[in-house]
């Protein structure tokens, strides 16, 4: 039993901006930092003001998620001037032979230029050079904790993260799960609501799909149309085991971006075995996203071969909702019509070789 006064004194305050990898790794970070006796502060949901601040500090060609990261970071610093650290992890590669987008690689360096930023808490995930547990030990050092404690924290965090993923695979939405993580509740599935008649796969980076401001609450729009949707987080683990070979007959090249690889694996599943499980695919891309611009091209061409409807939506900091709504509505309408026509006799399915 520790005395409450002591813990209050000792607890280090760490801020986490609600952007980029937050939507992917937050449960892991939270458990890891809490096991290391840190107090966590999270920035609020993205709003117009945050984006504006981010846009003024970023410059033209940056993609919108990074601009939002700037905004969230500055908001966090403004709201909590007493922060000891700001948690800006550097994700280089999570699995061997893979990378994240170059913007993640240089994130802590780019952040330094913002005004009034407190000390950066570094957490470098680079499996090419050293295992993640080493990174956790380094993190512990910065927080003044010993090696054993850091390793234990890493184990706990990994366990919790696995639980979280298991919960997602049961069919929970990421936003729901993140909320449960944030208020520290056990993972329980909500009651099933009325089912829609068609089912979409919603593709894209976590920070594009689950940030309700950047995509103008896209998930709600789909729900309003009576459409069920799943994201790649809800898919079974087995389909993410074997890597996708981009050109099977040639030099056997792989795609080397981690998240794009997951997207491709999911798509491969739905192009081959899981063809009947969904009615369409929507890919949300933020403007000037490098990896997605190439991957979307490959996916689009594969989709054409199989005949699965595919909608690619590119988002930037504009907030015009009507255009987006029109596109979604017409896409849904098109699929409904197609489905009605197809119930009589399904067209013979084509198989695909390259994915």
């Amino acid at each position: 039993m520790e005395a409450p006064q002591q813990t209050e004194k000792k607890r280090i305050k760490v801020g986490i901006p609600r952007a980029l990898h937050f939507y992917r790794y937050f449960p892991f970070w939270k458990k890891l930092l809490e096991e290391l006796d840190a107090e966590i502060v999270i920035s609020p949901l993205t709003n117009k003001k945050i984006v504006e601040v981010g846009v003024t500090h970023g410059f033209g060609e940056l993609c919108i998620p990074v601009k939002i990261y700037y905004g969230q970071l500055l908001r966090l610093v403004k709201d909590h001037p007493d922060l000891d650290f700001i948690f800006v992890p550097r994700y280089v590669s999570e699995v061997k032979d893979s990378y994240f987008c170059p913007k993640f690689l240089s994130l802590p360096d780019v952040i330094k230029i913002l005004p009034g930023i407190p000390k950066i808490l570094n957490f470098e995930v680079n499996v090419k050079e050293f295992p993640i547990s080493t990174a956790a030990v380094e993190l512990g050092k910065q927080l003044g904790k010993g090696q054993n404690k850091a390793l234990n924290a890493y184990k706990e965090a990994q366990k919790y993260f696995d639980e979280y993923h298991a919960f997602l695979r049961e069919g929970a939405s990421v936003n729901q799960a993140l909320r449960l993580v944030q208020i520290i509740r056990p993972f329980t599935l909500p009651k099933k609501k009325s089912e829609g008649d068609i089912r979409f796969l919603l593709l894209g980076h976590g920070y594009n799909i689950f940030d309700t401001f950047i995509n103008l609450d896209f998930q709600k729009k789909l729900k309003d149309q009576g459409v069920n949707h799943i994201t790649i987080e809800n898919l079974p683990e087995s389909i993410f085991k074997t890597p996708v070979i981009v050109n099977p007959r040639g030099a056997k090249l792989q795609n080397y971006w981690r998240h794009e690889e997951e997207i491709m694996q999911a798509i491969r599943y739905f192009l081959t075995k899981g063809r009947d499980e969904i009615d369409g695919v929507i890919f949300l891309i933020s403007f000037a996203c490098g990896p997605d611009s190439l991957i979307a091209e490959l996916i689009m061409r594969d989709m054409k071969v199989v005949g699965l409807p595919f909608l690619e939506i590119i988002m930037d900091e504009h907030s015009g909702e009507a255009g987006l709504l029109t596109r979604v509505e017409s896409f849904v309408e098109m699929i409904r019509r197609k489905k009605k026509g197809l119930t009589v006799g399904r067209r013979n399915k084509l198989t695909i070789k390259s994915a």
Partner: protein
């Protein structure tokens, strides 16, 4: 037996040494890629994804043009495991071209993630399969050397070009000399003669009458490699700067890049070391070395930093973000300008910006003590050509010194190397003819 017509992207002068790589192989006919023009680029833009980076579009356009008008169906293209998009180019370009109806397109991937692991030799194996003939091992060895040597001289010529142009008394004389030299280099395939090409370069440049007293402004010219080399894309920015009377120090070329991938480039290591504080790792593109060369040229007292990159290039944007938003004027005081090229902007807008930048540098030189008091140092290349010509012995020493320092740097690696993989690749390749296939190396 088929005579395979092979081609590649032109990339400025780079076609010279790429042709060296496929020189005199049985059954292979190398087609010179034509100069890039508006038509080619617009073809590429039409068929590319919307916001892919610009080199992708240019290269795709070149390939389409080669396929349609030059009957080329086999292309050599790089492939990578790097963090940036360049590694995926070939695969997607092939896919796009197949969907356009060019069903018999073939790509030969030059794996460039690490040249030391000999994975790139696969190109020759694939070509052997395609032509149905065997390439002698010594020819492959010779071609590799040709590639390296020619790449070295191309880099050297373009580097000297940037230094000389601002000094020339008769306009366009430099351009003429460069063209002559490139022609000579293109037609010379004898390694012994090429080893002495340094002297030819110096002699040719010596013909240009120059202003010897001149102390021009100095600019560090960096950026993403493809846009730096391809003159259609960058509107020959180097030439424009030179005409304005600015001494351009070109930082990178393909040779430098190959050296880096062989882990033999001392210069890149030095730059990396300088930049470590700001960018601790290679994030793709040239971002790390750009930072390094910015800091280095600032130390040397240069007047400006000119950085060009394709629109939406991820690593270069990260670098630009670091530099552009840098408020710490003690460490980053040298003026810098960034050009984001996407092929559609007219040159006049660019010229205005260059002129403004030029005026800024002139003003700095007059008033800013940080630049005013810097002593101008004549570059070594200029000295060697015009002021103190090298003796025969010095030429001999320098021709040996360069490869020696390369080998020495390679023997002291800074990156991890999977030796087993290298040995496996090497043995697999050189034993493809017979069990003791390595023996054929000694038939030289």
């Amino acid at each position: 037996m088929v005579n395979v017509r092979v081609s590649f992207s032109r990339m400025g002068w780079s076609y010279i040494f790429f042709r060296g790589l496929f020189h005199d192989l049985p059954g292979i006919e190398v087609v010179d890629p034509p100069l890039v023009n508006t038509e080619i680029v617009s073809d590429g833009v039409k068929n590319s994804p919307e916001f892919v980076c610009f080199p992708f579009k240019v290269i795709l356009g070149e390939m389409i043009n080669l396929y349609r008008n030059y009957d080329v169906k086999d292309f050599a293209m790089i492939a990578d495991y790097g963090p940036c998009r360049a590694g995926m180019y070939g695969v997607i370009q092939k896919r796009i071209m197949k969907n356009m109806g060019f069903k018999d397109v073939r790509m030969f991937y030059l794996r460039q993630d690490d040249f030391r692991n000999l994975e790139w030799l696969r190109v020759f194996r694939d070509l052997e399969k395609r032509t149905g003939r065997k390439f002698e091992d010594y020819k492959i060895l010779r071609n590799t050397l040709l590639f390296m040597v020619k790449a070295y001289y191309v880099e050297r010529i373009t580097h000297i070009e940037g230094l000389v142009r601002c000094r020339e008394k008769n306009k366009a004389m430099t351009t003429k000399v460069v063209h002559t030299l490139m022609n000579l280099l293109d037609n010379e395939n004898n390694l012994m003669k090429l080893s002495n090409f340094d002297r030819t370069i110096d002699e040719n440049f010596r013909k240009i009458p120059i202003d010897k007293e001149m102390e021009p402004l100095r600019v560090c010219y960096t950026g993403e490699i493809q846009v730096m080399l391809e003159k259609w894309v960058n509107y020959d920015l180097m030439g424009e700067l030179g005409v304005m009377g600015i001494e351009v120090h070109k930082q990178y070329d393909v040779f430098d890049w190959v050296m880096y991938k062989l882990d033999a480039s001392k210069r890149r290591r030095r730059l990396e070391h300088k930049a470590r504080k700001y960018i601790p790792m290679d994030i793709g593109g040239e971002a790390v070395w750009n930072m390094g060369s910015y800091l280095e040229s600032q130390e040397k007292g240069f007047d400006g930093f000119c950085h060009i990159f394709p629109f939406t290039c991820m690593p270069e944007i990260s670098f630009m973000g670091m530099l552009e938003a840098e408020k710490n004027m003690d460490k980053f005081y040298m003026p810098h300008i960034h050009f984001s090229l996407d092929g559609s902007s007219g040159f006049e807008g660019l010229r205005t910006r260059i002129e403004a930048f030029h005026d800024l540098m002139v003003g700095n030189k007059k008033n800013n003590p940080l630049f005013r008091d810097v002593k101008y140092v004549v570059p070594d290349e200029i000295k060697n050509i015009y002021f103190k010509p090298k003796s025969n012995f010095e030429y001999f020493v320098s021709s040996i010194e360069k490869p020696m320092s390369m080998v020495l740097t390679m023997l002291n690696p800074s990156k991890k190397l999977d030796v087993g993989f290298t040995v496996k690749n090497g043995l697999e390749f050189f034993s493809r003819n017979s069990f003791f296939g390595i023996g054929s190396l000694f038939n030289l």
